[in-house]
Symmetry: C2
Subunit: 300 residues, 2 copies
């Protein structure tokens, strides 16, 4: 069943030990959509500026990603991000960021997308995330992401959002900031009290952690030997996870665990090359093969 | 079958968010021995000073740890370490360290210990580690630890040691320093080329990684919700791992994986309280129970 994602679309400059690349396609919704499209049809909602090359969204040609929810806004400029991983491959240093059109109103969810059953609200102002959620008819699964900015400055709005979603995906620094707890298991359990049925904590190269009412699940990252560009790993993880979940009849702990393993594996293909090149070079059967291999390697 | 360990014995002062404790028993060989003794008889070799309280080694009363290899050296002082985890529970800041007797000659391996089949050479000068190894008759399994000091200043001696052991256990910073590779899988594979059959990389709260010729294995830490004092976690991990291995007939990848999981679980009991108090409060059946639980929680 189809999966709706709302999030950023951007043009990136990325500098890693493997080189510097400019005018790369990026943004949370782009990585998420591509990753999820290995599993399920995707509906993409986002906004770009007038300056965005027409060819940019050609990346989705031949894939089941409906880009009719992407607004090209006149008089606005596309979001741009310049990051460097020269010091630390696990955490980008932002050299420059120009929010541009992301600082304006979000793209509306088109009427033909409002029956979506599975939804991922990538990071934006939590009030806007909630408005988008409320414009949907009857979603089965709504999962949100967030970031430090909203945790620090829009706590009340964020708590309302967290109280109304099924799942929350955030990184280790964010869950610590949100709960003021250093221990990640304790912090994730604290978030569970705010409403969601599951909380997934992304730890970059150290893997991920999920807490539900009855379970604590820890998963290492896929032991990749060559990491060229970590940009989009977290969004690819979320895309792979949500893509798999959208094909499932229920969201039990064991389904969620398998979904996280798919997210982990998809992200391992993303980081093997710059921008979307790693995912573009990947076929679904390679994902399934690596998933099996990962499952075997993890067993003891 | 019995397991020989040589390493440090010390008196610690530890400061964590849960309080400050002084005159605690510590040192790599102490944590290792207690952890391993859940699985197999242990032979402990180490040296303390004249100032060491007679009662200190009473910790092993009622346990199968032979302390006849502990030398009490006249005119010397016991190793002392003062560490703080106030800033970061995953990495101690050393407030003060007095090597004292550790800066002198090591304790000799007593004749009655020389038939030991399983040996763990905890961190000391690599030449001394090699001498100790050479004084053994015909060990089946020799595993060594090391530290930054020797990687930086005694590289040639260290490479000789690494070339003559079956396994090497070291932490993420050490393996990066040794190989000049940032990626941990690539770094561990580089160490494999130096001779050992397996390399285990300890990543603290992020778990551990093992590389053999045919396998890469990643294991998260046990998702502990309350960490009181992380001191000795790595040595307890090594002790649990080596303790289990000493009871096994062969050292295949799958045996090594199960051993790492036992090490992980034993360490999770260590960090639940100060010094050895966590281990002292633990029974073998609790370790087996948590191991089963961990195995189930890791499956997907």
């Amino acid at each position: 069943m189809s999966l709706l994602v709302t999030g950023s679309i951007g043009i990136d400059t990325v500098h890693t030990p493997f080189g510097k690349r400019e005018s790369l396609l990026g943004g949370s919704a782009i990585y998420f959509s591509y990753a999820a499209s290995f599993f399920t049809p995707v509906r993409l909602v986002g906004v770009v500026g007038e300056d965005c090359p027409e060819t940019l969204l050609k990346i989705f040609e031949g894939r089941d990603v409906d880009t009719s929810g992407v607004e090209r806004r006149k008089g606005s400029k596309t979001f741009r991000w310049h990051g460097s991983y020269l010091q630390n491959m696990n955490e980008a240093v932002t050299v420059q960021v120009d929010l541009n059109v992301l600082a304006e109103a979000t793209a509306p969810i088109p009427p033909q997308f409002r029956d979506s059953k599975h939804v991922f609200l990538a990071n934006t102002h939590p009030r806007l995330q909630r408005e988008m959620m409320q414009s949907l008819h009857s979603p089965r699964l709504v999962v949100a992401d967030t970031m430090n900015l909203w945790i620090e400055n829009e706590r009340e709005e964020l708590l309302k959002l967290i109280g109304s979603v099924h799942g929350l995906v955030l990184n280790d620094g964010e869950v610590r900031l949100l709960t003021q707890k250093q221990n990640l298991v304790a912090a994730a359990k604290e978030v569970l009290k705010l409403g969601p049925r599951f909380v997934v904590v992304k730890k970059g190269e150290h893997g991920s952690l999920m807490v539900t009412e009855s379970d604590v699940f820890v998963l290492p990252a896929y032991p990749a030997e060559k990491v060229v560009d970590p940009t989009g790993a977290g969004d690819s993880f979320a895309g792979g996870m949500m893509g798999y979940l959208s094909t499932q009849g229920s969201f039990t702990s064991s389904t969620l665990k398998r979904a996280m393993a798919f997210g982990t594996v998809v992200a391992s293909f993303t980081i093997a090359d710059f921008s979307l090149d790693g995912l573009k070079a990947t076929a679904r059967h390679q994902i399934d093969h690596r998933w099996d291999e990962f499952k075997r390697a993890m067993a003891f």
